[in-house]
Symmetry: none
Subunit: 203 residues, 4 copies
DNA sequence: TATGAATGAGATTTCATTCAT
DNA sequence: TATGAATGAAATCTCATTCAT
């Protein structure tokens, strides 16, 4: 007997649930947001949610899993259109410079993204996955650009690609998390960082 | 008749509870850690805890309140022994460079400190307090040093003290939070930042 | 998709809980009776009870709300079958004369009904509702009868309907609450009251 | 070794506690009022209270015990100054007519007095004591007056003294408890009762 | 597959009572 | 005797999860 509903239907439903869950977790935090909050926000019944996910925890883990991927997609989307490494670095900074951290949605995303990290930080198994993913996606992405720049002669040769990648992401993480403070001059600080960073890398 | 126990006894007891609570919150997170965890860790009875704090939330808030102050104390402890602004900046970086982020306790503190921020981020009133405290303690501290350096001619005159202070703390925050990832080269990245930063500020 | 259970099912369930709660409150008093008592008596789980009522207090308030209405229903049930006012007064007394105050259930109801009043007496808002309800139902009911009797010439014209109504209910309340004493001659006293009252009103 | 504090001191202390407890119970009800409320109101420490009373329940029971006695004292105070039975009945009604039920203190006393009854009503042993006390003090008091009036020819001979006594107290109880309703015409109703009652008894 | 009523473990909090000082 | 900090049993309420329909 063929499945009564198509896989694509199921996929769509899952994404619906995840998207509502993200909103709820962003608003209240994972622990405080309840399944009923998700029910209310998504309009999908409790039973249905449990048909798609074994537990509240699983919803959270799935969201965490997609978190890095989404960042990655966002970052790589137009990256290939830039030809030289320096432009790529510019582009990466500009992606973050374009964030409006005062916007409700951005603000929420930053909070929930950091909550993911803290949640993982207390759970060795999840932390390992998250670390691996970060390496695979974010660090590698940057390492490639550094290497490309070094080969093209744009960047200093003594730069350690991995350290530089970590430096970049640490700075980004720094401004991002500080942006939750009221009146934090996000753009100003990030621009300083950009300038600092570019001077550091350019040959 | 004199009071049964002295105020200092009560103060000590309160600190005992707070210190146990901090450990528990660090280990499991505020939501997951229970009053029973604190009872078990502190050896103080549930009722006694509620004699000192009205609610679990109040314990958390009190911990948050002391969080910045403790950092501030740590940072200002030896700061006055340094005579020139440049040395002071060195010192501030070195305080963070001396952190052993692999140590259980440091790791926990970093996590719980960031959890404080996220908790506050969802609560306008608390966020305002936290922002004010950050300004009063951390930003001002750094602004003074920058100004001092500018007056003594050690630092560039075109530096905007406040932006520079924000830059510093954003970088510190960035490495700190990234340190929760396994195998993160905390010291290496922080050293790069220090170097970058010093070059930026020095006249 | 139709609702899982009908509204009448939910109504029935609610009444089940209320009825169990009434028994428990009657047996032990509102403060002493616990939700677990209601769970045990009703066989309905704690969670289910909280699905129907927000709090123990709400259960109590709902019971209070229905208390007067039930009395009113009991009293008005056959009242219309009596044609003249005098017969109606007779009927009202007889309703109370038919109470067997030695019976466990009646005894409990009297206690819980009076507990309602005391509870309300400490809460201005609830008291106002209770007072309004008493006026609307019990006092008006009696006032109508008095007026009817005055118009038909059965009753004295100088009777003040409202005062007379209050007199009636005060006497009823008096015997009722005294009935909780062991060996109180409930019927005898109430019969005296009836006789006294009838003489007073009849033209 | 002689007692360090005199018996009269202890007696005074006990009365202090009881008087504070009465206020607290009146304000909040026995179950809701806490020992800490009594501590706060009396200014006597928790430990001291437990030196004088074994439990919160015991405080309550002692208050109940004095409740009837106090009424009795109030009623008998000037009763002997009246020579004829009819005047005595007048006096008894007038005592209650002189109550200002709108006054905070009177209101509270009525509530707590009725709470005593309900509390007792759920406890056979206490109920027996209360019933006995009522008989001994209140009913007997009235029975004597009725008999006196019958002997002097003031009252009807066919009155059953005990029933008449019960009738009197039931009416008093009725107006008293109804007085907790807002805008209850206490004096008006009680005056009607007095008139009714006097007509009933007088020869 | 969808629904939402039911479940009950487990959390927070209260407060009568004890007891060291 | 007086004090009030400490205790812990027991209460209320929440909410992730199950399951009959």
């Amino acid at each position: 007997m063929p499945p009564i509903v198509s896989d694509s239907y199921k996929e769509k439903k899952k994404r619906e649930i995840l998207s509502s869950a993200l909103v709820c977790f962003a608003k209240k935090g994972f622990q405080v947001a309840t399944i009923d909050d998700i029910v209310e926000h998504s309009g999908i019944s409790k039973g249905a949610i449990y048909n798609y996910f074994k537990s509240k925890d699983e919803i959270y883990l799935e969201l965490m899993a997609t978190d890095t991927e989404e960042s990655f997609e966002l970052l790589t989307k137009d990256l290939s259109t830039y030809k030289c490494a320096m432009e790529k670095i510019h582009y990466l900074f500009d992606v973050y410079l374009s964030f409006n951290v005062l916007e409700e949605e951005t603000h929420s995303k930053i909070i929930v993204h950091n909550e993911f990290k803290l949640y993982a930080a207390r759970n060795q198994e999840i932390m390992e996955k998250l670390t691996a993913r970060r390496h695979h996606y974010l660090i590698q992405l940057f390492v490639e650009i550094i290497k490309e720049g070094q080969e093209s002669g744009e960047f200093k040769h003594q730069l350690k690609p991995e350290t530089t990648a970590n430096l970049f992401w640490s700075m980004i993480d720094g401004v991002t998390i500080q942006s939750i403070y009221n009146d934090y001059p996000y753009k100003e600080v990030l621009n300083e960082m950009k300038q600092l960073f570019l001077e550091k890398v350019k040959a």
